[in-house]
């Protein structure tokens, strides 16, 4: 695998924060079987094992239909795997919980709640007093760039704004892990870029563990410490690539960085070529 120069080096050292890199999420031989509408068994995920370290930004990259979202749903506890298990901080995941906060491509906002109402929903559910929750949530709304939109209903917002609300709503209940399911997939290119930048800025503040599903190579390389490449169905892990680029990352610098470009080109080539290297040239 000499196409991926940094991989061997990175393998020897932890992705980030030398010292104790503790496992936040462990996925252990997970397989997922679905029944299709024709009543046939379809293997969506096959024998996935993956460890995600505390504070790491990990992207799961793969073509559509490779089961990458399913893997995220298993970690979220929304779907239970047919085989294998997932653990969070050593404890088996049996269902959803506020320690793992999802952000979906479909936003999934509560349309009957205002922006503030949506963001306050989690903290209120957790028993935070209304006044306290409101103060925290107003600050969060400002952080995601939506100051002045607190009293708007979701239908009055653009897609990018809705996703900002969804992110704030999830951050509001302080999950330890963010589970992002193609969060920018429904947005136009410009909005997408802005949200990627803003997400990184927000992430730099506390460096939560993030599991980020995407089919965009640039997005995965730009954001992640580690990119998990998956194969088309049944979804298997094909490569795990450490992205050894300095942080904090700035788009304008990174796009000119040959290392960034090489990661993108190498990964794209792997997608195009299949298992045989270099045949595209």
């Amino acid at each position: 695998m000499n196409v991926l120069p940094s991989r061997t080096e990175a393998k020897a050292q932890p992705v980030r924060a030398p010292g104790q890199a503790t496992a936040m999420i462990e996925i252990d031989h997970v397989s997922q079987m679905f029944q299709t509408s024709a009543r046939q068994d379809h293997l969506a995920l096959s024998d996935i094992s993956l460890t995600i370290e505390d504070g790491a930004f990990v992207s799961i990259l793969g073509p559509s239909g490779c089961g990458k979202s399913t893997l995220l749903y298993i970690v979220g506890g929304f779907v239970s795997p047919t085989q294998g298990s997932a653990r969070m901080k050593g404890r088996a995941i049996t269902g959803p919980g506020p320690d793992r906060g999802p952000v979906f491509q479909e936003f999934a906002l509560f349309p009957w709640k205002t922006v503030l109402g949506n963001v306050m929903y989690g903290p209120r559910q957790q028993g935070v007093k209304a006044a306290e929750a409101e103060a925290q949530c107003r600050a969060l709304i400002e952080m995601v760039g939506l100051k002045g939109f607190e009293d708007f209903y979701p239908k009055e917002l653009s897609g990018g704004m809705k996703q900002r609300v969804a992110l704030a709503r999830t951050l509001a209940y302080h999950p330890e892990v963010l589970l992002m399911d193609e969060p920018f997939g429904a947005l136009d290119a410009h909005t997408r870029t802005r949200l990627q930048n803003d997400l990184l800025n927000i992430w730099e503040r506390d460096r939560k563990t993030v599991l980020f599903v995407t089919h965009s190579v640039e997005e995965a390389v730009f954001l992640s410490d580690k990119v998990v490449m998956m194969t088309r169905s049944p979804g298997r892990i094909r490569e795990i690539i450490d992205i050894d680029l300095p942080r904090p990352r700035h788009r304008s610098e990174l796009l000119l960085d040959p290392r960034y470009q090489k990661y993108v080109v190498d990964i794209e080539r792997m997608f195009d070529d299949g298992p045989v290297q270099g045949s595209a040239l």
């Binding site: 929304f78 349309p111 239908k155």
Partner: protein, 261 residues
């Protein structure tokens, strides 16, 4: 966001009413039939009914039955419909049952219900209940079924239990659809109310109408039709105002208002 104001839309339903009355007047004058009084004669007979204490008591009794039947139907049907929409087991149990009941005109059950429960309030209220239930169940079911899975997942991640998700996510998310069902239910309540009173002629608005028919007092018959119609229009307009307030957050469903509200 309010829909743009189109000049004339507020006056349009009133103009339509007026047009209908004018057509009626012309038709009645042209036909010169005893059993088809003019619109003006019918309108003049309205105060006669409303000034009569007996008639008012009858109409109020109708209203009471309708209100009770409607309210009980909503209280029962909304939770049932929502549960059917979220649970395959509940849906597959009730669906065949409802499919059989759905096309049966509820008033057709009236003779049997009268046989069992008498001609009093209970029978009539029960028929109203049955008439209202089905559209409300159906729309609640559809509303609950189409609630986005990811919305429920988001709630689950925040720590909402299954029961809490039902009340605090499925119910509000399905509310626009539920209220559409309730609006249909309200009109059906009025229809079944009148028909039940035509069959079990003991009291009520339908009873007044048919008594007047028996007596050959056709202007009273038509006056009563106008009163019942006006009741329906008022109720619908009130409900529509309430509905619009409750689901202001929802996408606008109609550009043209379909009511007097």
């Amino acid at each position: 966001m309010r829909s743009r104001f189109i000049p004339g839309t507020r006056a349009a339903p009133w103009l339509a009413c007026l047009g209908l009355l004018v057509l009626w007047q012309i038709a009645a004058l042209a036909l010169k039939n005893d059993s088809f009084p003019t619109a003006w004669a019918a309108i003049r007979a309205i105060p006669l009914i409303l000034a009569d204490k007996e008639a008012l008591i009858n109409i109020l009794a109708s209203q009471r039955r309708m209100t009770i039947g409607f309210a009980v139907a909503i209280v029962v049907s909304v939770p049932l419909g929502l549960m059917m929409g979220r649970s395959r087991a509940v849906a597959s149990f009730f669906n065949p049952l409802l499919m059989v009941i759905y096309p049966v005109p509820k008033a057709a059950l009236m003779p049997i219900i009268m046989l069992w429960l008498g001609v009093g309030d209970l029978s009539k209220t029960l028929v109203i209940f049955l008439g209202v239930s089905l559209p409300v169940i159906y729309h609640s079911f559809e509303g609950a079924k189409s609630v986005e899975e990811k919305m429920l997942w988001s709630g689950a991640a925040m720590g909402l239990s299954a029961a809490q998700r039902m009340v605090r996510i499925v119910l509000p998310a399905a509310l626009p659809e539920i209220l559409t069902g309730c609006r249909t239910g309200l009109v059906l309540a009025l229809i079944t109310m009148v028909t039940s009173e035509m069959i079990a002629r003991q009291s009520g608005a339908g009873n007044i109408l048919f008594n007047a028919l028996d007596m050959g007092e056709y202007d009273l018959v038509f006056a009563m039709i106008i009163i019942i119609g006006a009741m329906g229009i008022c109720l619908d307009a009130m409900f529509e105002t309430l509905r619009a307030r409750l689901v202001r957050w929802s996408e606008p469903q109609f550009d043209m208002p379909l009511s007097f509200s």
